[in-house]
């Protein structure tokens, strides 16, 4: 039906060569195939091309120079400090950096590394801190990369930690990273 110049099948009947009627139908199958392929392509590229946006909020900056920045006062048994070092490693300190309750321990990123620690602490902290939840302080060092930071923020979302902040790293904390040999270029 949808073919052009169909063979009549009965060649030479009566020895009379009939001129075939030109006309009508063209086989559109290939055309439709192509059109649908292109539709699929354009549909996927328009919707999948949009980049994802990970929202970050930073605290207001204290602009007055010379005025010492107020130290963060967080309960020792609620705060978990993550020092982002080089070589895709994190140093985890539970409690104060100078006087840690636990750590510093070096772990990697992903489900087997940092997530285990976060899940464990998330369950543990409310028990010792009278029902109050965990506070995570993220301190990226100069040797960490953007991927590390995004990974950590992503973990916060996956583990569902409500309280976390990105803060500046102090020289003492850099020393911790250097000691653990995760402060390389």
């Amino acid at each position: 039906m949808a073919e052009l110049n169909q063979d009549s099948g009965k060649k030479g009947k009566g020895g009379k060569v009939r001129s075939k009627k030109n006309g009508g139908k063209v086989d559109l199958t290939a055309m439709v195939d192509l059109a649908f392929l292109l539709i699929t392509f354009f549909m996927l590229t328009t919707s999948l091309n949009k980049p994802q946006a990970m929202d970050v909020a930073m605290p207001d900056k204290n602009k007055v120079k010379d005025e010492p920045q107020p130290d963060l006062l967080t309960a020792d048994n609620r705060s978990l400090t993550l020092l982002l070092g080089s070589d895709n490693k994190v140093s985890v300190i539970y409690g104060q950096v100078k006087n840690p309750i636990e750590g510093p321990t070096t772990v990697g990123y992903g489900a087997d590394g940092i997530r285990k620690v976060l899940l464990e602490k998330k369950a543990y902290v409310p028990r010792v801190a009278g029902g109050k939840d965990l506070i995570v302080i993220i301190r990226p060092s100069d040797k960490s990369t953007q991927r590390n930071l995004v990974d950590i923020l992503d973990e916060m979302k996956i583990v569902d930690i409500k309280r976390y902040m990105i803060a500046k790293i102090s020289p003492e904390e850099v020393e911790v990273l250097k000691r653990d040999n995760i402060y390389n270029d």
Binding site: F42, K63, D142, R147, L149
Partner: protein, 220 residues
């Protein structure tokens, strides 16, 4: 004689209607797809499980890559022009109408103000050549030497102005709120260069921003 022939049903179908529909859809998708402009700085963003999509308009995008080079761009053409007008006044550099027309079409750029005129004079394809765009100057101050600070500030002001204007002239226009700032940094970019951009934003109380990330399936 008298033998009834079984009429064989034809195997091919009339595809005309199907073809019509598919081409209609194809035309629609081709027209709605925005042509991708060649990026002045290509970066490989890190992946995350975030599902939120970046809006199509009212976004100021800061790109960081290639060892700390900073590029800046805005989604809306009107805002681009208004921002350049403000920057031109701020830095005392005049631009011709032609420059404005070129700038309007530029997705992002990364040159100091003093070299912007030269960049706009170049042909479109030559702008993305290596070594042409060296990045917008940035430091930890709030002086004119930190050009990114003023680009962001003036773009925010320009976006507000454009949105106000549209709101008063068009009843159906809904003010989308303040300009959203997005940071698109290369995955292997070291933190200091990212931090400098963040601090520049914080200095003008732009404490909220987004990191642009790629897609990753959630690990279970």
């Amino acid at each position: 004689m008298g033998k009834a022939k079984v009429k064989r049903a034809s195997t091919s179908i009339d595809m005309t209607a199907m073809c019509d529909v598919s081409f209609l859809l194809l035309t629609f998708f081709v027209l709605t797809a925005t042509a991708r402009q060649p990026e002045a700085l290509t970066v490989d963003t890190p992946a995350s499980t975030t599902k939120d999509k970046l809006p199509d308009s009212n976004v100021g995008m800061i790109t960081i890559g290639d060892g700390g080079k900073v590029f800046f761009g805005t989604t809306d053409q009107q805002v681009r022009v208004k921002a350049l007008e403000r920057m031109s006044a701020k830095y005392g550099i005049g631009f011709s109408q032609e420059d404005y027309d070129h700038f309007k079409l530029m997705e992002n750029f990364g040159v100091p103000m003093s070299k912007l005129k030269g960049l706009l004079a170049l042909e479109g394809s030559k702008r993305t050549d290596k070594g042409v765009q060296t990045g917008i100057p940035i430091d930890s101050t709030e002086n004119t030497s930190n050009e990114l600070y003023y680009w962001v500030q003036n773009t925010r002001l320009a976006a507000e102005e454009v949105n106000k204007e549209k709101e008063s002239s068009d009843k159906n226009f809904v003010h989308p709120g303040p300009l959203k700032i997005a940071i698109k940094a290369d995955a292997n970019e070291k933190y200091p260069s990212v931090n400098q951009v963040i601090e520049t934003l914080r200095n003008q109380k732009q404490n909220k921003f987004s990191f642009i990330t790629g897609m990753r399936a959630e690990e279970k």
